[in-house]
């Protein structure tokens, strides 16, 4: 295992280095005048000259890349053109909102996906199976931004059951102010015993959480269905049934235990996919997280922010894949040999 761990971690680091090369090329080599891209189209010539000097844009490209890497590692990710604040600090401010949304979506997706997958496999080729398969493939075919709008139309516009945008009711700021510790509203409200805010934060999470969960739910349900079908066909399941073990126990305890490890792999990948899904869901629900931050930056060509979020995305994605691979290797010894 240690050799596999070392080799796999080494590859991940190498890939990460590669991604910084891609972002570097996009930020500094592709644009005709990177200083203008960096400062925005309305920059004055003096500012352009200054930033050219400061960023070392007049130096050879390998030197520039070295400096870019050193800055990244030092935590100097540049200053946002839009807000004039350090990019890394702004990312830190907005990260909790995105994490909370992702956690809610993944919780919904895992619960719903596993139950749907097991039920479909249990009733293979019957009505429930067909309905769930169609639902799952519908989930992965659904544009998240459209689903978000539809849920807003129905649950906010028509029924008035749930809030449509934001993380909290604006009145609560005055009536029940929240002491921020982690930035995760649910956790902060729970820790400080602020139950009114806790309820409100939870209600605000429902629609964006459900919207973001649609895709991973579909993926997980399909994966669980396939692995459950394989697991249910195994000899020891037949033996358990022959011994008269209750069907409920056979399906939910014995077979599901065998079906879950492959699902863990898919879980990591769908989590990574949901990172980009969160972009669009945050835009639709006016959710003050990283996705909304990045979408605004993309439209305004706020380069330091775009590159910062991109590097963060690549790091998170690569690390998720690494963790998934290592977990997979732990669960399945054959992987370590390849």
């Amino acid at each position: 295992m240690p050799r596999f761990l070392l080799r796999r971690t080494g590859t991940a680091l190498l890939v990460l280095l590669g991604t910084t090369l891609v972002t570097f090329v996009l930020a500094r080599v592709v644009p005709a005048n990177p200083a203008v891209t960096y400062l925005g189209p309305r920059a004055r010539p003096e500012a352009i000259a200054r930033i050219t000097r400061e960023l070392g844009l007049d130096r050879p490209l390998p030197v520039q890349y070295g400096r870019y890497l050193a800055d990244l590692l030092r935590g100097d990710w540049g200053i946002s053109i839009g807000t004039k604040r350090p990019v890394l600090a702004e990312i830190g401010d907005r990260l909790p909102a995105t994490l909370e949304l992702l956690a809610a979506a993944m919780l919904i997706a895992v619960l719903a996906g596993v139950v749907l997958g097991v039920v479909a496999a249990r009733h293979q080729n019957q009505f429930a199976d067909h309905a769930i398969r169609l639902l799952a493939i519908g989930g992965v075919s659904m544009p998240a931004f459209w689903l978000g709008l539809l849920t807003q139309m129905l649950f906010f516009g028509r029924l008035g059951w749930l809030p449509a945008t934001g993380r909290l009711d604006s009145d609560l700021e005055f009536t029940h102010p929240l002491t921020e510790v982690t930035g995760l509203h649910l956790v902060d409200a729970l820790v400080s015993g602020n139950l009114t805010t806790l309820g409100d934060a939870a209600l605000h999470l429902v629609l964006p959480g459900l919207t973001l969960a649609a895709y991973p739910t579909g993926v997980i349900a399909r994966m669980v269905r396939a692995t459950m079908l394989e697991a249910l066909a195994q000899d020891h399941i037949r033996a358990a049934r022959a011994y008269g073990v209750a069907e409920r126990v056979v399906v939910w305890r014995i077979a599901l235990r065998n079906a879950l490890p492959p699902t863990a792999t898919v879980l990591g990948l769908t989590l990574a996919y949901s990172l980009t899904g969160a972009f669009f869901v945050e835009v639709v629900f006016n959710w003050p997280g990283l996705g909304q931050y990045a979408a605004t930056a993309l439209l305004n060509a706020d380069y330091p922010v775009i590159m910062g979020v991109t590097v963060l995305g690549a790091v998170t994605y690569t690390l998720t894949n690494l963790v998934v691979d290592l977990a997979h290797a732990r669960l399945d010894p054959r992987v370590r040999l390849t």
Partner: protein, 309 residues
């Protein structure tokens, strides 16, 4: 060379020089495939949806009730109106007929993903063939390059590339192709590397055929099925991706009749004029659903490893 009839990896018979006789077997296999597809209800639904999309894209000018992408001969008063007998799906705030715009929108919705997937295959497949066939340092180099592109969350790299090049439908398509090719490289490299040791490939090399001939005539036909399955699903995914890019303003620009853009334009009115976003979004959903259902069915039929349903 053996005198016994040879069978390729895909099950297709092979000629005596070792080449898979894909051409001769094709009509029968296609017929079998279509018959099998026909038996799967979800696959038929997928085929139907894809056929509708193709029909809308080809015949938009004939089918659309109002010309000029729904702008021509609209109501006297240029204003938004709900679904009615004159405008089945309603009109947008400029009085443009929504149904006509959705029909015209089928063109970019189909053409862009086709172009993206074709480009991704054009770049990814040759690289995968070379990497898998040659192995060694070249293989390492190509695969690490692919890994670099695959290290970004899906769509993120495309979004950044569009932001660098400037938002437009063409740039969005290019950006998507640039971030999509490594999937094909990885797929084809795996198949090629496993086929390289097979007797029919070794035989072809022993006969003195050039490497490029062996790759194209002997290995590529055996990789065709997985590529077709991947491409079918990818067309759906790219429709979704282009829609998402357009939604945040990074692909098609107004006044184009583009589904993602139309959803974005209707967003402001979502609580009152619901049809503005609902119908174009439904078009995206149905198109993607069609390709996903079809891709799923093809995977089950073409991939022998899939558990039979």
């Amino acid at each position: 060379m053996s005198t016994q009839p040879l069978v390729g990896v895909s099950g297709a018979p092979m000629s005596t020089d070792g080449a898979a006789v894909v051409e001769a077997a094709a009509p029968t296999r296609t017929r079998q495939l279509l018959a099998a597809l026909w038996r799967d209800k979800l696959a038929v639904l997928g085929l139907l949806l894809v056929a509708l999309l193709v029909l809308a894209a080809l015949a938009a000018p004939l089918l659309a009730p109002y010309p000029a992408q729904g702008a021509g001969a609209a109501a006297e008063v240029k204003e938004v109106s709900g679904p009615s007998a004159a405008h089945w799906l309603g009109t947008d705030p400029y009085g443009r007929d929504l149904l006509s715009r959705i029909l015209y929108g089928a063109r970019p919705a189909l053409l862009v993903p086709l172009a993206v997937v074709a480009l991704a295959i054009g770049i990814g497949v040759p690289l995968g063939l070379v990497a898998g066939f040659r192995g060694g340092r070249l293989d390492e180099l190509i695969m690490r390059l692919a890994d670099m592109f695959l290290a970004f969350p899906p769509l993120l790299l495309a979004m950044v590339i569009v932001a660098t090049l400037g938002p437009s439908l063409r740039n969005a398509a290019m950006a998507l192709a640039i971030s999509w090719w490594p999937w094909y490289t990885r797929l084809v490299r795996g198949i090629t590397a496993s086929l390289r040791e097979w007797p029919f490939v070794e035989g072809a090399r022993t006969l003195g055929l050039r490497d490029s001939t062996v790759m194209v005539r002997h290995i590529l036909p055996n990789a065709a099925s997985p590529i077709i399955v991947q491409a079918t699903v990818d067309i759906g995914t790219v429709i979704l991706a282009t829609g998402a890019l357009a939604f945040i303003g990074l692909a098609a620009q107004p006044p184009a009749a583009d589904w993602g853009l139309m959803v974005a334009e209707g967003r402001t009115y979502v609580l009152s004029e619901w049809w503005l976003s609902a119908f174009p979004g439904a078009a995206i959903f149905l198109a993607v659903l069609g390709f996903n259902l079809l891709g799923d069915a093809l995977r089950d039929l073409l991939d022998p490893r899939t558990v039979t349903r």
